[in-house]
Symmetry: C2
Subunit: 560 residues, 2 copies
């Protein structure tokens, strides 16, 4: 069996290595267009920022290692320029010597990845505008940023010595790469403006969660401009760049990072005549077969099934790409491995904070017209409050109303986020209900958690909702209900809700006569805990009471 694998990073590299392990006699050709295979593209922003100083650190495995250890014919700087799927051949061009050769395959695996979107805007090709996809990309950005550090007096902008080094950066796009690039440019001491066309950063998050991210970035000195797209670029009189936006604004910058998303590389798929899905990625089945039985595809170039909704979608992530590569190797060896779909579990460090999510977001559910769901906001400590260093976690949990099934979770915070998002991720994989979360036995010691872990706590609160013990409402639907604030007066002095009647929780039982029996009463406190107690008291005394999920904290990051 001769297998040609096109693309030597993540999915392709995983496939090649596992195929060799499973099938010693297979002839394997691993083709990579760029100079490196199996490099750590997730590390590129940190290489730009300097956290990862050496370029060599990014090279996980080398062409030489593939040859020596895996006996794989690994060819870098080699591009597929033609595929003949009826003859089962590929035409390869060696970029070092220009030679073109044709290789026959029994099975072909496409792992071309996804390319940074580079819209055809005026000035897009001006020097200083970069994407971040490959090791050479990172190298070029570093050189661009470092070059001015050498103040030779010969910089291209003014001819004078006034510009010592680039100081202003514009990052276009507020997704993972954009945020990581912002952090790393700030680490380099730059002034950074982040421009995002959508009304929120970090598209996998719901807007009210993303608002927290925006504020956090602003707190760390980033200028964030939402709802504005880039219209073009031009060179200013002094030689610097100017970024022009659709709203008519202009941001000067010495460097621009384009991080407005990626799109599947499907040129090879088109050459091979295989099916492309509606989302623009290569269509594969759960064994990563394309529409041609001899061609497989993996990684960022393929459409995957959303694990929760079952929809075809594009979710470019390293973990899924690696697992898909393994599955293809299995299938090539006659095994019955199957890809289960992608949950979209992701995590991102931004300054001292961590942003994470898994499963489906509320906005996706809304887009699908789904109404059989509820959401809760909880704000537990990352670990026991009495142990130093505890930080507030911000957790949105989304679950099905009819059966309690966990659908998605979004977790933000400065401590303990990975512990929680992975619990949620595993829970979603295994079809957990929120009743299961209530009973989870997660690790607890004061430096790491609480006897009721934040994940348990989310389950308990959600359980209270679904069992009818705690009807809830949300800030975006309070209508003209009666508002009851059960906080203590000093808390109201800091911030209060217009029109809300204040009865501190400890006095509630003795002041029930001040409340209306014929109106819906929405109850407010700081985090919805005391309001929960109050809800229970009112419900059992014949009132129509609901807790406003997340209380005043949820109100503070309510999206517009």
């Amino acid at each position: 069996m001769k297998v040609i694998i096109v693309g030597g990073v993540a999915g392709g590299a995983s496939c090649a290595a596992r195929l060799r392990r499973l099938y010693e006699k297979a002839e394997i050709l691993l083709i990579e267009r760029g100079p490196y295979v199996s490099y750590a593209n997730c590390g590129l922003p940190y290489h730009v920022g300097g956290t990862i100083e050496k370029e060599s650190s990014l090279l996980v495995a080398t062409e030489q290692m593939f040859k020596a250890v895996f006996a794989i014919d690994c060819r870098t700087n080699c591009e597929v320029i033609g595929i003949n799927s009826s003859k089962k051949t590929v035409d390869l061009k060696n970029h070092l010597n220009g030679e073109v050769t044709t290789e026959k395959y029994d099975k072909l695996v496409l792992s071309p990845g996804a390319a940074p979107i580079r819209p055809p805007l005026p000035g897009i090709d001006l020097p200083g505008i970069f994407s971040v996809r490959t090791v050479p990309d990172a190298k070029h950005i570093r050189e661009w940023l470092d070059r001015d550090l050498v103040n030779t007096g010969m910089n291209e902008y003014s001819g004078a010595n006034t510009i010592a080094k680039p100081k202003n950066a514009v990052v276009v796009g507020g997704g993972f790469i954009g945020l990581e690039m912002v952090e790393n440019l700030i680490e380099r001491g730059m002034n950074v403006t982040l421009i995002e066309k959508l009304n929120q950063l970090m598209p996998p998050l719901d807007p009210e969660m993303a608002l927290i991210v925006k504020r956090y970035m602003e707190k760390h000195g980033v200028k964030v401009e939402l709802n504005d797209g880039v219209a073009g670029f031009r060179k200013s009189a002094d030689g610097a760049l100017e970024v022009l936006t659709e709203s008519g604004k202009m941001y000067p910058a010495e460097v621009v990072i384009l991080a407005i998303g990626v799109k599947p590389e499907i040129e090879l798929a088109k050459m091979a005549g295989i099916e492309i899905g509606k989302r623009g990625g290569i269509r594969v089945d759960d064994q990563m077969h394309t529409s041609n039985p001899d061609i497989f595809a993996v990684g960022d170039a393929v459409e995957v099934k959303d694990f929760v909704t079952g929809e075809w979608t594009l979710i470019p992530l390293a973990g899924p790409a690696n697992r898909q590569g393994r599955i293809v190797a299995d299938v090539l060896c006659g095994r019955n491995s199957r890809y289960r779909g992608t949950q979209g579990t992701s995590i991102c460090k931004i300054f001292g904070g961590t942003i994470s999510q898994t499963g489906v977001s509320e906005k996706t559910l809304k887009r699908l017209g789904e109404t059989d769901y509820e959401k809760i906001y909880t704000y537990p400590n990352s670990h026991a409050g009495y142990y130093p260093g505890a930080k507030m976690l911000i957790i949105k949990t989304i679950f099905r109303k009819s059966d309690g099934k966990l659908l998605g979770a979004q977790v933000l915070g400065e401590d303990g986020v990975p512990k929680r998002i992975d619990s949620f991720a595993m829970a979603i994989q295994m079809g957990c209900t929120i009743y299961d979360l209530e009973e989870s036995e997660l690790s607890y010691a004061p430096p790491y958690g609480s006897a009721k872990d934040p994940v348990n706590f989310a389950g308990m609160v959600a359980g209270d909702v679904l069992r009818g013990d705690m009807p809830i409402s949300h800030w975006d639907s309070i209508g003209n209900s009666f508002l009851l604030d059960v906080r203590n007066p000093p808390e109201l002095e800091v911030e209060s809700v217009k029109g809300a009647v204040n009865i501190p929780l400890p006095m509630l039982r003795s002041r029930l006569n001040e409340l209306p029996k014929d109106r819906e009463i929405l109850i407010i406190c700081r985090s919805a805990q005391r309001a929960y107690y109050a809800t229970r008291i009112l419900l059992q005394n014949g009132f129509k009471a609901k807790n406003i999920s997340g209380g005043m904290i949820a109100r503070s990051h309510k999206a517009d």
Copy 2:
């Protein structure tokens, strides 16, 4: 309904608060023998050490709060001195004024906890020997340690000024409390000797994993003495304590912490005439009913079903106690909540390291005569190796051979442990197989993980074993097989295995003729990764090959 709850910490407090929330009209009496309810006993070692400076930080909820917010008749310094289960009354003694009263109950909930074991050894009552259970215990230890800090020249030992403050401590018992106390006494600048009667620290761990803990503690300056029990205590000529061991050794100390375990407090249960299990705890069903239908019991005093083995066992942990308390409240209100058993998920900080486990240990399986299991050792980075700060995790994964079900995991390391142990814990709760772990989509970004998370990786390695792709052996059963070391020569110079033949992996394919076809070949490398590749090459070339799980690293912590 009148409910009396005896014991105001963890299980009792949780039960009381939830019962009030569910049932506004219930009459609830919460009885606590000590001066505080709902205090953070898990924080006590850190209060002794000074990490948690204020005693008040340990008080999660107060008697006053139970009264004001929950309308609960909460009584501290109040002890149950008699139970008449036919009349359904308890006799209460108020320790502040000596008054004895009798209260009738409809339902009684016992949450008395477990008492530190204090064996009747000679000298056990000498001043300076402490247990760590209550806030006053911590206070007394602090006072004892602080007292000598005031160098008045009037200390009881020598009458002179030579002893400025306690310098030497002996901690007896190497479980959670023992280890946490060791850390905190070291934090106070003391010399600490840890004496443990068993052949390992941290009994929930398997011995080879506990060996790593022992070495880690020694590296941090702790003197660890295993296989030696305390025989008694005496006062030395200069007034300090001397700890005498069964082996005849003597350790001088100015303070001794007894942390040799706890035993369920069952005096109340005996008064009530309810059934005690064989492990010495109160026997309850999965709704926490005792043998008397009107009496419930929760927390450290009860026996629980081991979630994995189904055995009755004693696992004193805060999380389970809290959940059991909630379940009793539910059941009292006619709900069908059930306790699912205890997994024994636990975690412990010790200096910069973290010790954790969930599910069943290998030694428990051995004790039960179970043979349908396999184990693997893996040593992945806590996050992407190219991102700064990655540390090696040490993971033992135990799973059923016949169906791949995950049975237990033990995770040690200095970074990223909580993320992994909680994934394993959730996986065990949901009945995951190792094949599920292979497909888990856990959070990955370079600062937090790898595209193949350590939990995935454990699943993948275990899957390779169970699918027969990688037969494994262990250091404790290598017999007289042929040993093949596939590391590079410079690595062998550091440490090599006697009798092993060295063929570096890249040369293996060309030197197969040096290997015997008629003998079992056990393959060695550093972490078992290259040996896996070698195993695959040999198996597919007709050799009988096995990988030694965990390679040289596993050898380095092989228990005797």
